[in-house]
Amino acid sequence: MDFIVSKVRLGKKETREFERGRMATKTDTIQSLVDREYKWGFVTDIEADTVPPGLDEDVIRLISAKKEEPAFMLDWRLNAYRHWASLEQAEAEPKWANVHYPAIDYESIVYYSAPKTKDRPKSLEEVDPELLRTYEKLGIPLQERAILSGVAIDAVFDSVSVATTFREKLAELGIIFCSFSEAAREHPDLVQKYLGSVVPYTDNFFASLNSAVFSDGSFVYVPKGVRCPMELSTYFRINAQNTGQFERTLIIADEGAYVSYLEGCTAPMRDENQLHAAVVELIAHDDATIKYSTVQNWYPGDKEGKGGIYNFVTKRGKCLGKNSKISWTQVETGSAITWKYPSCILQGDNSIGEFYSVALTNNYQQADTGTKMIHIGKNTRSTIVSKGISAGHGQNTYRGMVKILKGAEGARNYSQCDSLLLGDKCGAHTFPYLEVKNSTAQVEHEATTSKIGEDQIFYFRQRGLSSEDAVSMIVNGFCKQVFRELPMEFAVEAQKLLGVSLEGSVG
């Protein structure tokens, strides 16, 4: 069974800058290196409502019925399913990525799993205590007490929303922040208008599959001129065995709105691979800004490459209006395989797209990740900063496309793509694609590859620092440019994660 936790965090801009300064010179976080296990690998024992493995139209109908969805949703899912089935028949699963894995048996996957509850809980008191303990273990405070200290949570357990806080405060501003299922029931007009408008169900194999079966996810709508005063966040977790995780997130920032959204992910350790195929769609109207940050820590598999999550995700944002901005920041440390290209369609004039990424592959992990920046409007700008770290037998690929269409007068792109290698059995690969159809465009691409050498590590050790400290400091220094785009809490978590994920890659 899978569950999703969403939380809201109060923005604390002023203190953040200060704390960030402190953090940059603090080595305490590296202490967590001592903690060398994948500590999110536990399983929650909770009764689940699960459909049998395999996929057909009946399963889709069942999912839609369980979610009490309006008719348009079922139709959309069925269309998606039929499209996906035709692709599957044609063996049209994408094969171009620089990743290798045995064929996935889509009939063995469970497409819906939810925790058994009699009714949808109305408050925290009605939530299964086992579930609350799980969140506790994951370091996500769920209680109202925690909210008072600045963190509020909207928890969705196994596809069903179980607890929401800070909702009223957001509602006062007209902001909608809820689970996708709820949005489909309570705001069908918005969902119908925007669902699939950035990633249509025909987009690609995994997006089609997601469109057919997605269980839940988050929905955010920020109305005209509203600056969302808190960071909205969702926490994803895969718990059940043999289950695919298919969530869908839809974020709409209306004219002049601003929202910052964070997502985090973990999963239990299991020997078999599990499929995670999510879709995220962002829409920014005139003068709106959406900032989307991810810290992905799905179970990466063991040292021999057994098990782990296949993270096949489609994320795309549309800068629909003029002067709009969409910024993606991702720290990808988990998953056996990552296949993911958070992209921006820069349609509005003067719109801005950004992509900041750290992708780490250790042991037998593989990552093929990057972005697409599609410049359509005039004077559109995009920035790409990609940092790939490979250790062990890890294979890390950056794949990025910058496309400047004919009408994109004065478009500019800057791409920087750096690779860091630890050891001599890993690999770094870079595939930048540039397609420029307007002669006024300026496109820059910079790339570097470096290696943490024995000489460097010895230099640190001779000054009294351990090998682990050396690697952490070098890696964190390498990633600084990306980390500073993350909200404070996430930046610290990301630093810690890199330390843990690199465990055993030295010496």
């Binding site: 402190r22 024995e454 010895f458 400290d469 600084k480």
Partner: protein, 291 residues
Amino acid sequence: MKISDCRFPIDHGVEIPQSENLKSAIGNSFGGTMLEIRNLHASVDKNEILRGINLTVNAGEVHAIMGPNGSGKSTLAHVLAGREGYEISQGEVIYDGKDLLGMLPEERAREGLFLAFQYPVEIAGVSNMYFLRAALNAIRKHRGLDELDAMDFLKMVREKIKLLEMDETLMNRPVNEGFSGGEKKRNEMFQMEVLEPKLAILDETDSGLDIDALRTVADGINRLRNPGRAIILVTHYQRLLNYVVPDYVHVLSEGRIVKSGGKELAHELEEKGYVWLEESGEPAKSGVSLR
């Protein structure tokens, strides 16, 4: 002569005043044994480079180790610092009463052993300031002292930066990245002054320096001379020894110390070259023979 009773205690929480009178005391051994190398043999890929080194260095002393290229000078410095890749087949090294060879490189450093590198490496993305503070705090922690926060650290280093005539902007740049040869060497001296080692080993710190830089670096070394600290200068040329006058000079040849003497030995080498010694054969029992 082992005068362990009059060894000066090293308390790094307290500034030890540097006395001008120190220079007049050169030649006398102040403290107890800081380092004792006994019959040290080390090889790389079965190729023996150190073939039985014997050397005793007491606290308060400055020793110069000279010798032609390939004589094993840098290998000795690296083996003492604990660099991997050397096989120690025989011998032992006692540092400050402890078995040095049984310690990890970082443990040696935390115990006060400092190596100024001949070729300091560049470390992208890690600022000089951050790096040095982390190093200092690792050492302070080991000694049971409080770690310094950024403000205290800055206050402490500002003065030392000035003394070394370093450009303060170098502090915020990544460690050694884009530094000139001279800046790298000054940075090594700067780190040494901040970390206040008990035993400093300077590997060819004078190489590649112009005369002004050489003087600044030498001033730094002289500032560090004190009764509780020992310094080993590994150098090919006599030049540095004009500014940092050693208590003892040893000549290394083919992995052995073939001659030891006072500061005048360096001048003799300058005049006659190393060939003179290699021809005379007879390996000396260095260090010990002087006592």
